[in-house]
């Protein structure tokens, strides 16, 4: 992982409202594992710094590191990244970090994400696609609406079950994720990766435990709208 590195912003896109997708050229980069995160540190003129963690959405094979950041109305770092950053800017980053919420690319996994919690799961899906092992993954994601779901097309292409809480989707009415949604995706021997807001992660992990998934097989990454590192949201 090492210390702080410089990353040059290579691309800025806003495919989803209230969020930004950054493509970073990280100098002297160490390849990440899908699920790991980076810390971004911003420094003001007077030396004041603020740092937050963001999961990588990109596969390790991607020459750039892709971050997807939800813009929080009072987010000190996320508003800067969403509103100010332009291609060519330099950012200080540190990573990759984390050895727990990572998928090894070789064993069956059940990925359950809510909102921007899908981001580290997208890295896992992209890695599986690189390896030709999408068959190892079962995916369920939840969002308020389809328009607010990051990477909606890629998730659908990977066979993800998409649950929308504020609008109907196909024959499924608007509703929160239930055990009935997850039941067909649960298979013996899976490791489950649950990522989302504190409330979503708690509810989804309890659904899995209720379906008989051993708690020791459930890996959870939570984040909450309180200025927390956004990847943990």
């Amino acid at each position: 992982m090492g210390g702080w590195r410089t990353a040059t912003v290579a691309g800025v896109r806003r495919p989803v409202v209230r969020s930004v997708q950054l493509r970073l050229d990280v100098h002297d980069r160490v390849d990440h594992l899908p699920g790991q995160h980076y810390v971004v540190r911003l420094t003001a003129e007077d030396g004041y710094t603020a740092q937050r963690s963001y999961s990588a959405a990109s596969a390790p094979s991607d020459p750039l590191v892709e971050l997807f950041i939800e813009r929080l109305a009072d987010g000190e770092v996320s508003t800067y990244l969403a509103d100010v950053v332009e291609p060519g800017d330099e950012l200080e980053v540190r990573g990759p970090i984390g050895g727990w919420f990572v998928w090894d690319g070789a064993t069956p996994a059940l990925l359950v994400g809510g909102g921007t919690g899908v981001v580290p799961l997208v890295a896992m899906i992209r890695h599986a696609r690189d390896l030709g092992r999408l068959d190892l993954l079962r995916v369920a994601v939840s969002s308020r609406t389809l328009a607010e779901l990051p990477y909606a097309d890629e998730l659908a292409a990977a066979g993800a079950l998409v649950v929308l809480t504020r609008e109907a989707h196909g024959i499924r009415p608007a509703a929160r994720m239930t055990g009935m949604d997850l039941f067909p995706l649960v298979e013996p021997g899976q490791t489950a990766y649950v990522c989302g807001s504190a409330g979503f992660a708690e509810a989804a992990s309890q659904l899995l435990v209720g379906l008989g998934v051993p708690p020791s097989s459930v890996r959870v990454e939570r984040f909450g709208p309180s200025g927390l590192p956004d990847a943990w949201r």
Binding site: M1, G2, G3, W4, T6, L42, T43, A44, E45, G47, Y48, T49, A50, Q51, R52, S53, E76, Y80, V84, D89, E90, L91, E92, R94, I97, G98, G99, W100, F101, A198, E202, S205, Q206, L208, V209, P215, S216, V218, R219, V220, E221, R222, F223, G224, S226, G227, L228, P229, W232
Partner: protein, 203 residues
Amino acid sequence: MPGPTRGFLGRRRTTSDPRLPPGQYDVGGDWPVLTAEPTPRISPETWSITVDGEVENPTTWTWDQAHALPTSAYRGDIHCVTTWSKFDTHFAGISVDTLLDVARPTAEGRFVMAVSKTGYTTNLPIEDVTGGKAWLVWEFDGQPLPIEHGGPVRMLVPHLYFWKSAKWIHTITVMKRDQPGFWERNGYHDRGDPWKQQRYQGD
């Protein structure tokens, strides 16, 4: 240390609060929940705390037995490695010293591993959990500690980053040699002093 980030102003700040370690911010009234595993369901009736390993007198206390010990409280600040700090928290429970006084670590017992009901672990030098620096707590602001914050009983080691304050504490194992716990195996620092910004291995 590179120069400033173009166009970054940051939150409006007055004089820096001396209670805030470097790289931290005041989370105010919030108390974020961060855990790596599903929240367990633990009832006071089945909860217990065991101190074992390099001790002369391995001991287990039930809920009632632990509550019969002299109470001890902490009022002060807590600091999470994810950069939030929370000022003037109030926890109550018992001092870890009280348990170790009964279990009596041997002269060779120099580290402890705090083990949660979920299997979560975190390692600490024994000096960091003795001398009035560590607690087992079951009350926050006068109320029972909520399950999502580690209730019914969690460890509290407020002078270190908060991942050292294991939720759902179940066992304290005294060890001769240091061994990495859960986050420590996964890239985080073995000690975690917020004033030294010991966030990750190598800091």
